[in-house]
């Protein structure tokens, strides 16, 4: 009995529950409801072009906002003392332990027209904002839900940068800002990349946030797919085709993000 055979049951499992399902998606995407091969599912997708564009646009915006908000948090945290760092990381992880549907639901009560935000604005004598059921609300929900997924990977990369590198850089004549620009930032890029991955993928495919905060007015790919499988528009063949295209675009996107990251790393000689 060799130890490498220990993984055989799981390899079989992966074959059935990881590889085969993807195969099914592919088969469904290329067949009609009667089981004949077709490309019709992909042709039918053109009328959903706005949904594709909206999904990728909103996911992109959310990812950028997550970087802009999350990166400084990770950087600031990395400069705190060990105890503070540990406490803060715990505080950032903790909200994820509350079910994300509920947290999103809480945003409904904040953003809705008679919600807490508008009550607060009225209290200050300011005009009410109409946010709920708009793309803005969806973006807020995405940023809120996925921000920790940006902070944590970036933070874990930054804290691992050897502090003597900072000193070496300063010794070689870099000021604080150029230490950041020439050392910290390039070296933290791998963290940013995995952050992008962890934010963008769930953002582009969400249907919970759009349904709760978009009120069905902001339809995204996730909604579209969900409708084809469990919703009124039942059509798993079309749904599979949409899912397949979505996965494909995501993979291509990730490939370019990674390529960009790698060439950048090479440029600084890391």
């Amino acid at each position: 009995m060799k130890p490498k055979y220990f993984s055989i049951p799981y390899i079989v499992w992966m074959g059935i529950f990881v590889v085969a399902p993807i195969f099914f998606v592919v088969v469904y995407a290329f067949t009609t409801a009667d089981g004949y091969p077709t490309l019709q599912n992909f042709a039918a997708m053109s009328r959903f072009t706005p949904v594709f564009i909206r999904s990728f646009l909103l996911a992109f915006i959310s990812t950028v906002i997550c970087i802009l908000i999350g990166y400084p948090v990770a950087y600031i945290l990395s400069r705190e003392g060990k105890r503070v760092q540990r406490l803060m990381i715990m505080l950032i992880v903790l909200p994820m332990w509350m079910n994300f549907l509920l947290r999103t639901y809480a945003w409904m009560s904040i953003l809705e027209n008679t919600g807490l935000l508008n009550r607060f604005l009225a209290f200050l004598g300011l005009p009410a904002l109409n946010i709920i059921n708009t793309p803005t609300a969806v973006v807020i929900g995405m940023v809120y839900n996925f921000l920790p997924f940006m902070i944590l990977p970036v933070y874990s990369v930054i804290v691992k940068i050897d502090r003597s590198l900072f000193e070496a850089a300063q010794d070689l004549g870099a000021n604080n800002f150029s230490v950041f620009r020439k050392v910290v930032f390039p070296m933290s890029l791998p963290g940013v990349l995995s952050g992008i991955m962890m934010v963008f993928v769930p953002a582009v495919s969400t249907f919970v946030i759009t349904q709760l905060l978009g009120g069905g007015m902001v339809m995204m790919l996730g909604d579209l797919i969900e409708m084809q499988f469990l919703g009124t528009a039942y059509n798993p063949q079309l749904g599979s085709a949409i899912a397949l295209v979505m996965m494909f675009i995501v993979i291509v996107f990730m490939y370019f993000v990674n390529r960009f990251g790698q060439s950048d790393e090479k440029a600084v000689g890391a």
Binding site: M14, V25, M88, P95, M98, L116, L147
Partner: protein, 282 residues
């Protein structure tokens, strides 16, 4: 000895940086405090405070649909986490002892459910279950839900154990065999105890993911079985009942308490480690 020297390069964040982090934390916690607060609200309103009550906590335990969903979630989480941990441990040990040529592609397949969008995993599994169900005569339900949870849990277990295996001294098993173990004995007496922190970590991650999952459950549970997140989703489409707030508050506080305990334990262990390092420096 405490290192009291202040680095001239790595300065601690100033007031601006700290208030910024404080603001982000406020952003992260505001919705949670609102949820908790309104679990004590005397009316169903989710934005107007009308007075304090514990009624929702009382009626929570009487609401059979919520409690059923809660039990389903708990049972699925416990079973799937345990099965995934056992399977993942064997899988990780197997992968680790393979040559890189085989290990790399298998690890890529292992990572698919983690990298892929939840909805894609959910949809593809549901297609598999529906197709198999037509042949083998079963329908979506508790069984398929459990299979789905095990499937998305194992990769995380494998991933939390692999680094521990990599840290192992290559000769550890040889040493155990040298001292009289058969290979299987060495596995149980040496490998498993040595990677135990990774196994426990994997178990906790699997359990949490399973409790929290909505999307994959939604596509694989069928119409008759509901997990708590599914129940919550169904409610958000109508009006959410404050009992859910109450249940979430209880869960949240439980987790909070657990984390505090773990944190205290870890920092004690770390202190012990630091003392050890000090004595080693001599």
């Amino acid at each position: 000895m405490k290192n009291t020297a202040v680095s001239t390069v790595v300065k601690k964040p100033g007031i601006l940086g700290r208030s910024y982090t404080a603001f982000i934390l406020f952003f992260l916690y505001a919705p949670i405090f609102i949820l908790i607060t309104f679990s004590f609200n005397s009316t169903r309103s989710r934005s107007v405070w009308t007075g304090f009550t514990l009624d929702w906590y009382r009626s929570l335990f009487l609401d059979s649909s919520i409690m059923n969903a809660f039990y389903t979630t708990l049972i699925v989480a416990v079973i799937s986490a345990i099965v995934a941990t056992i399977a993942g441990t064997f899988a990780a040990v197997g992968f680790h002892s393979m040559r890189r040529r085989w290990r790399t592609p298998l690890m890529h397949i292992n990572n698919i459910p983690m990298m892929n969008a939840d909805i894609a995993t959910g949809v593809s599994l549901s297609l598999l279950f529906i197709s198999l169900g037509m042949v083998l005569r079963f329908r979506l339900g508790f069984g398929t839900l459990l299979l789905a949870h095990i499937t998305f849990n194992i990769p995380y277990v494998v991933l939390s154990i692999m680094p521990k295996l990599r840290q192992l001294d290559n000769n550890l098993v040889d040493a155990a065999c040298d001292l009289g173990c058969t290979w299987i004995k060495a596995f149980w007496k040496v490998i498993v105890p040595e990677i135990m922190p990774g196994i426990i970590n994997g178990l906790i991650i699997a359990f949490t993911l399973s409790i929290d999952d909505f999307v994959i459950s939604y596509f694989t549970a069928g119409g008759n079985v509901m997990t708590l997140p599914m129940q919550i989703f169904a409610m958000t489409r109508r009006r959410i009942s404050p009992e859910i707030n109450a249940l979430s508050t209880i869960l949240f506080l439980t987790v909070l308490a657990l984390l505090i305990v773990i944190n205290i334990r870890e920092s004690k262990q770390e202190e012990k480690l630091h003392r050890g390092e000090d004595s080693r420096d001599r």
